[in-house]
């Protein structure tokens, strides 16, 4: 189902949780709302679900497949909702939890008991917990509870599945497992899904498209690749992945970062102005000897080769820290020493001008 969010504003007292937000979610895709806490992502999800309303004076609307549902109560929107803390009914068995939406239907829509049994079992099998029907929620692990919550949400046969930080309360390993399981499940049932998360890794791994939110506004909408490699704003750049930030100046087709100068033909204007440079750790390389003006001298402070790549922390003469991520074979080849002076070379960088912060200059590469 297609979801059309148009000009939604929601305030809590003086706090604007959502500020004129519009968004279109396409049939069958899995979209992640990503942002720090307080960015409005959960509020947006709850408004789509009908658990939260828009401001009284707000003219915006929510439409499902072109039908306005702004004033339709949550129970009548045909959405499945998975809560961060599962919200399973503690006094009911797993079976009764999943059967709940079927049992509360109006008499003429209510399936007969045998049908309920069949449907619940089917859903439990779908989430691979068919054997736990008689257990109580408290007897399950966190991951199992969240899968039951998902089965229960699916029992309404939702046209949209909304997930509010569904893995937030789980520990790292279970989270990883459930994440890929959710992706497989989505590929299987293809229901339009919206996932709220503050975990960029989760969003990048699971979603078809990512909506990056900040301070009640949408910063960027795009595929994981787009938002990661072509961030539209400084916020997205800083929020997604680690990044080195430098403040320098730019003008006449040249960017200056202290002693380092870089050709920057996409800014040919004569007047020089301040700019912020963003470089991802993996876009940097370390050289023993300088082979041009593009390099920055820095001192090795710490090395951490534990992991799939090596992280090296350096410090410029001005005291600015730089983090560089090197492939392990490159790291071994260099055999760096602590406190050694080396040169940092940038393979790519992004430049943002402070007064036009929402607009990035094109990336450049050396």
């Amino acid at each position: 189902m297609n979801i059309d969010v148009r000009s939604i504003t929601r305030s809590f007292g003086a706090f604007r949780a959502l500020n004129d937000v519009s968004l279109n979610i396409r049939e069958g895709e899995l979209v992640a709302l990503l942002g720090p806490s307080g960015s409005g992502k959960t509020t947006l999800l709850r408004i789509i679900a009908g658990l939260e309303t828009i401001d009284a004076g707000c003219e915006g609307s929510i439409a499902f497949d072109g039908h306005d549902v702004t004033d339709r109560p949550a129970g009548k929107r045909g959405v499945g909702f998975v809560f961060q803390h599962y919200a399973l009914f503690r006094h009911m068995t797993v079976f009764e939890n999943v059967a709940f939406p079927l049992r509360v239907r109006k008499k003429k829509h209510r399936p007969v008991e045998a049908e309920i049994q069949r449907r619940v079992q089917e859903l439990l099998d779908l989430v691979q917990l068919g054997g736990l029907a008689k257990r109580f929620p408290a007897q399950l692990s966190g991951g199992q509870r969240q899968r039951i919550a998902l089965a229960r949400a699916l029992a309404v046969e939702p046209r949209v599945l909304l997930l509010d930080e569904p893995f937030g309360a789980l520990d790292a390993q279970v989270r990883q497992e459930l994440r890929s399981w959710l992706r497989r499940l989505h590929d299987e049932i293809h229901v339009t899904s919206v996932l709220v998360t503050h975990d960029q890794e989760e969003a990048l791994e699971v979603a078809d498209r990512i909506v990056v939110m900040n301070k009640g506004r949408i910063e960027q909408v795009g595929s994981p690749e787009e938002v990661f490699h072509h961030p539209a704003t400084e916020f997205v750049m800083e929020f997604l992945g680690q990044v080195n930030v430098f403040h320098g100046r730019i003008g006449d087709g040249v960017a200056r970062l202290g002693e380092m100068t870089i050709d920057y033909p996409s800014y040919p204007h004569a007047e020089e102005r301040a700019a912020t440079f963003y470089m991802r750790p993996h876009e940097l390389d370390i050289l023993r000897t300088a082979n041009g003006p593009g390099q920055l001298a820095a001192q090795v402070v710490r090395m951490n080769p534990a992991g799939s790549s090596a992280k090296v922390t350096l410090q410029t003469r001005e005291g600015t820290p730089i983090i560089v991520e090197l492939p392990l074979d490159r790291y071994r080849e260099l055999s760096l020493q602590r406190n050694e002076y080396v040169f940092v070379q940038s393979r790519a960088a992004r430049v943002f001008l402070p007064d036009a912060s929402s607009e990035a200059l094109p990336d450049y590469a050396i």
């Binding site: 949550a74 809560f83 803390h85 009914f89 006094h91 709940f100 939406p101 509360v104 109580f136």
Partner: protein
């Protein structure tokens, strides 16, 4: 005794524990055992004769029936009061919240004579109720009202924190799964509040069984008709029949312990089940 207590660096366990147990024994346990020792001094026939005497049986019936009804009234209205006080905002809420404890703070004798004044023939309520044929003072209805009065705070005060702790997400989940508010209330909220409701009900019931001061004035104390068991104990004592008083008291005491014990057991079962035992 090896594992009697866990090691702690804090001082004073021996002396404070020793004092607590000694004082508790002297002040509560020994006096209480006097009751059972005295009762066991009676022969079975004596005991049975006393507690199955027609007037005594009538008092039990009256006491338990009125106490049960009062607890039921409190369960319903106490629930509404607690729900309103926790979930809604309205003018005067703080005052009402404070006054809920009035029955705890007001001496029972005062409540007793006040209720009697209100519900007797010329009282504020009695003057309207009596012409309708509803007799409250000096009738079982009056006993129920007095018992409901003293038991109300038990229900409200045990329900309030439970309502506060209700999982709001569970209510939202129910709504989004298609339940209407009534279904959410009956299937989700009430079952979640059941343990607290049971506790409050039992406390209110147990308190009503033993209640004396607030009931004795309004009941009229007519043998076989409006005489509660507590009053019967007092009149036995006035007649210097300590044995008879003891026998009746034993039955009352055991009854309240059974009520409170049953509720504890039920609660243990509920929480044990939903907390993961098998």
């Amino acid at each position: 005794m090896l594992a009697f207590r866990k090691y702690s660096v804090l001082p004073g366990f021996r002396i404070t524990f020793g004092f607590t147990v000694t004082y508790l024994s002297l002040m509560v346990l020994i006096p209480l055992s006097a009751l059972f020792v005295k009762a066991s001094g009676l022969t079975w026939t004596q005991f049975l004769e006393t507690v199955t005497n027609a007037r005594v049986m009538a008092s039990y019936r009256l006491t338990f029936a009125t106490a049960l009804l009062a607890a039921c009234v409190n369960a319903v209205f106490g629930f509404i009061v607690a729900w309103t006080l926790v979930r809604y905002r309205f003018p005067g809420k703080r005052l009402i919240d404070a006054v809920v404890d009035l029955p705890f703070a007001m001496p029972t004798a005062v409540s007793g004579i006040a209720l009697t004044a209100i519900y007797s023939k010329n009282g504020w309520m009695g003057q309207y109720l009596e012409p309708l044929g509803i007799k409250v003072a000096f009738a079982p209805l009056g006993i129920i009202i007095a018992m409901a009065f003293v038991g109300l705070p038990f229900i409200v005060r045990t329900l309030e924190p439970a309502i506060q702790d209700l999982d709001k997400e569970a209510e939202e989940a129910a709504a989004i799964l298609g339940a209407n508010r009534l279904q959410t209330f009956l299937r989700i909220i009430i079952p979640s509040l059941m343990p607290a409701l049971l506790t409050g009900f039992a406390q209110s019931f147990a308190r009503a069984i033993g209640e004396y001061g607030s009931v004795v004035f309004i009941s009229g104390n007519m043998p076989m008709r409006t005489e509660i068991s507590s009053l019967l104990i007092v009149s036995k004592l006035d007649q210097h029949d300590t044995a008879g008083a003891t026998a009746i008291a034993c039955v009352l005491l055991v009854a309240s312990f059974v009520v409170l014990g049953t509720v504890n057991a039920v609660q243990w079962y509920i929480s044990h089940r939903s907390r993961g035992g098998n």
